[in-house]
């Protein structure tokens, strides 16, 4: 995207493609991180103790060069990053784009992300890219497509990926499998890990009239390697009842914080990202959201020194 924040960086070595990021580990701690946005770069560099890690949308760094790569290189020198794909279209029936896989792999090789993730959704049909995370029915056929795509992506990039549960607004009459069973089966067939978006659980539960706790009880928490939290917007459905929109443009709602606490008490502390993608706040606001997540993670951390997480996995 057009970015007015060019030129804020001092010169960095142009040997970018061979940098090994000696100063920072690639491993992402079980602490809170935030989405990395260029508008916050100067604040982050000036902050002595920003957050535990940063996550970026892979597609924003698929250009050949220029400021985006210089900014991400600079961040990567000091922090581990999580690479979050938005456009692989894993959930669609069409073959994955080899070009997109190659671009994705190049980013993995260049930035050595601690975590790599994608969505249970689709966005491309016949070379038309719709720039949204579109839903799919849960059937034996779509399950085999999704698993084949995850196998292909994991083998192509040489890394295990985490799959994120979607937020949805509609359901499919031809779905025959519950979302949680669908996800559990994907993990079992592909060996992928899970990115649990707690906000998506809350949004979908509200929109479809089920209990978020019952979803979480059915969800394979033992495979969760990362959590997402984000703000949502409130609209109305056709019947005038609440319809939540996964908007990523505001603070995390109280109900989602409560669910998050329940999840980490059960699953143990895992890397937790506060996502904020539009109507970006000032850096201190975003940092305070991460701090709120960190407090909850810290509270449960002591419990899990005893290895409870692995006990619950069996």
């Amino acid at each position: 995207m057009a970015d007015p924040h060019t030129g804020h960086l001092a010169d960095t070595p142009s040997t970018a493609s061979t940098t090994r990021f000696a100063a920072s580990s690639m491993l992402i701690p079980a602490s809170a991180g935030v989405s990395f946005k260029h508008t916050h770069l100067d604040d982050i560099l000036a902050d002595r103790d920003p957050v535990g890690f940063f996550e970026v949308h892979a597609e924003n760094y698929m250009g050949d060069g220029g400021f985006p790569h210089r900014a991400l290189e600079r961040i990567r020198e000091d922090y581990p990053i999580s690479l979050h794909g938005v456009c692989m279209s894993i959930g669609g029936p069409e073959p994955l784009s080899r070009d997109h896989l190659a671009r994705f792999k190049a980013l993995v090789d260049r930035y050595e992300p601690g975590l790599v993730s994608e969505h249970l959704a689709w966005s491309t049909h016949d070379d038309v890219f719709m720039n949204d995370l579109l839903p799919l029915p849960y059937t034996d056929e779509t399950l085999s497509h999704v698993c084949a795509h995850i196998d292909e992506m994991q083998s192509f990039i040489g890394r295990r990926i985490l799959l994120e549960n979607p937020s949805t607004y509609v359901v499919f009459e031809n779905s025959t499998i519950s979302e949680t069973d669908f996800i559990r089966e994907i993990v079992s067939r592909t060996g992928c890990g899970l990115l649990l978006d707690v906000s998506n659980v809350f949004v979908s539960a509200t929109n479809h009239g089920f209990s978020p706790l019952s979803y979480l009880m059915d969800y394979p928490l033992e495979h969760v390697c990362e959590i997402h939290l984000a703000g949502h917007a409130v609209q109305e459905d056709d019947e005038g009842e609440t319809l939540l929109i996964d908007s990523h443009d505001t603070r995390v709602a109280e109900a989602v914080w409560n669910l998050f606490e329940i999840v980490v008490k059960q699953a143990g502390p895992v890397p937790t990202l506060v996502e904020w993608d539009s109507d970006l706040p000032a850096w201190p606001v975003l940092k305070s959201e991460a701090a709120a997540a960190e407090r909850i993670l810290d509270d449960v951390a002591t419990t899990f020194l005893m290895g409870k997480r692995h006990a619950t996995a069996s």
Binding site: L9, G65, C87, S123, T142, N174, D238, I245
Partner: protein, 263 residues
């Protein structure tokens, strides 16, 4: 079997048609939960797709939006998005044909300079994301024997773009992008915009008369002699020494190669 079953359990074709055309029916398999309707629910997807793509265009073409005003821009962008959705998931590649769309968009007819301003903005973003490649070293020209200089061609830097316009595109672009208050600009003055990224920052340079033809010929693969001729033919005051200086100083090229003289 119903016809849509042939497409498999996920009707991506029907979904796509309904997403991009608000008058189209949504796929029959989509519904609300517990017997609820799905009109507003499906419209969330329509809205997400359309609005996010309009927002992407607004990010790529901020000067065009400033000139037209937000509401005009979004109406124009909405029509473009529905007629020309992106084919790549890389949204910074979107909108290469937005300028030519503007030329056919009737309400924009009273702003005939708009499309060329859009072309400059599209070049700007391409330059912003272009590969980090060293520009042609000034000493390189000195290594070429003078009698071969005319037969020398130049490889453009991946950031390099040229917009030749009948309108004052550089002035309009610069004023609307970089200044808080924009005074009156005489739009009818032809200007050639050279877009480069010699270091970290994108530069949009107004070329002196004749250099538009000169750079245009070089970027298209012509030799220095051909480019000099094109420049001189276009403008009486064309100065070849000045033009060669600009060839180096703008960073528009990365390599020089002298052609074999075989004729």
């Amino acid at each position: 079997m119903q016809p849509h079953r042939e497409r498999g359990d996920l009707d991506t074709a029907g979904f796509r048609a309904a997403i991009l055309n608000p008058a189209a029916e949504r796929p029959t398999s989509i519904t609300g939960p517990n017997g609820k309707q799905a009109v507003r629910r499906f419209n969330v997807y329509r809205n997400n797709v359309t609005v996010s793509l309009i927002d992407a265009l607004a990010d790529i073409f901020p000067v065009v939006q400033r000139i037209t005003g937000k509401s005009f821009f979004r109406d124009m962008a909405r029509e473009f998005v529905r007629a020309h959705p992106p084919s790549s998931p890389l949204l910074f590649e979107y909108g290469h044909n937005f300028a030519s769309f503007m030329e056919t968009f009737e309400p924009a007819a009273r702003m005939p300079y708009l499309a060329d301003v859009a072309r400059v903005e599209r070049c700007w973003l391409t330059a912003y994301h272009a590969a980090d490649t060293a520009t042609l070293a000034p000493a390189r020209l000195g290594e070429i024997p003078p009698d071969l200089l005319g037969d020398t061609g130049f490889a453009p830097h991946p950031a390099t773009g040229l917009v030749r316009s009948k309108f004052a595109v550089v002035e309009i672009f610069d004023a609307n992008r970089n200044q808080e208050n924009v005074g009156r600009i005489r739009a009818g003055i032809p200007q050639d915009a050279l877009v480069t990224r010699p270091g970290h920052d994108v530069a949009v340079t107004r070329l002196p008369d004749g250099q538009g033809a000169f750079f245009g010929r070089l970027i298209a693969g012509g030799t220095l002699a051909e480019a000099a001729e094109a420049g001189a033919n276009e403008a009486g005051g064309f100065d070849i020494t000045e033009a060669i200086g600009a060839l180096i100083s703008t960073g528009a090229f990365i390599a020089a190669e002298t052609r074999d003289q075989q004729d």
